[in-house]
Amino acid sequence: MDYAMPRAGDIPALGVGTVVTAAPSNPLGIKGAGESGTIGAPACVSNGVIDALWHLGVRQITQPMTPKKIWRAIHEAQAQ
């Protein structure tokens, strides 16, 4: 495979909590959300990768974060 697929041992038990602010626009206080919660995930992963490489001088990385791209980012940062 071209990337590490998370397996059961790579993921912790998940806790789900809710913070409820009812929308004032309808009796149920609800809004349609679809899967908009997924929008933050790629940014979170990118920031995690940059954080992991920060001490090597890497300040930016773009997706797809292939091994080749990580390698190049590290070596370009080290060369400076």
Binding site: M1, M5, P6, R7, A8, G9, I11, A13, L14
Partner: protein, 150 residues
């Protein structure tokens, strides 16, 4: 060979994988093909009581063996306790990895009386799921193990 207790025989191209024999010849389509690298485990069946990946063995290698698929784990039309646990704990979303998870769960329960969450997660190294994040799968296997212990 025997499949789910019934004797079966066929003349096959020797390159026929067990998973294709089960799905296409025997029409037992509960065993799934989920990858082409032997990593996903959606093809997991029991051969002589041991879970194996049916995508990585030729049917002809199992001449004389006893094979159990997901279709064969229940008895008398009732769900196997591990299947019932997956239903109770909602251990699936799309269901594609689920037969493999159940087959592996049954084996985990046979070898571990009271497995910790960490042990269950480690034992599922060979079963991938793209939908659930494994959370309810682990819960289901823990519950199924308790149920199988009676």
């Amino acid at each position: 060979m025997k499949v789910n207790g019934e004797a079966v025989s066929a003349e096959l191209d020797p390159r026929t994988l067990l998973v294709h024999f089960l799905r296409e010849n025997l029409k037992l389509t509960g065993t799934h093909v989920g990858c082409d690298t032997s990593q996903c485990g959606a093809c997991t069946v029991h051969v002589n009581g041991t879970p194996i990946k049916s995508c990585t063995i030729f049917a002809v290698q199992l001449n004389g063996a006893e094979v159990k698929t997901i279709e064969g784990v229940g008895e008398d039309g009732a769900l196997h306790p591990m299947q019932a646990a997956f239903r109770e704990e909602h251990g699936l979303q799309c269901g594609y990895c689920t037969p493999g998870m159940v087959m592996m769960g049954i084996d985990i329960a046979k070898r571990h009386k009271n497995p910790s969450e960490a042990v269950i997660r480690q034992e599922l190294e060979g079963n991938l799921c793209r939908c659930t994040g494994y959370h309810n799968i682990v819960k289901s296997i823990a519950a199924g193990t308790k149920a199988m212990a009676g």
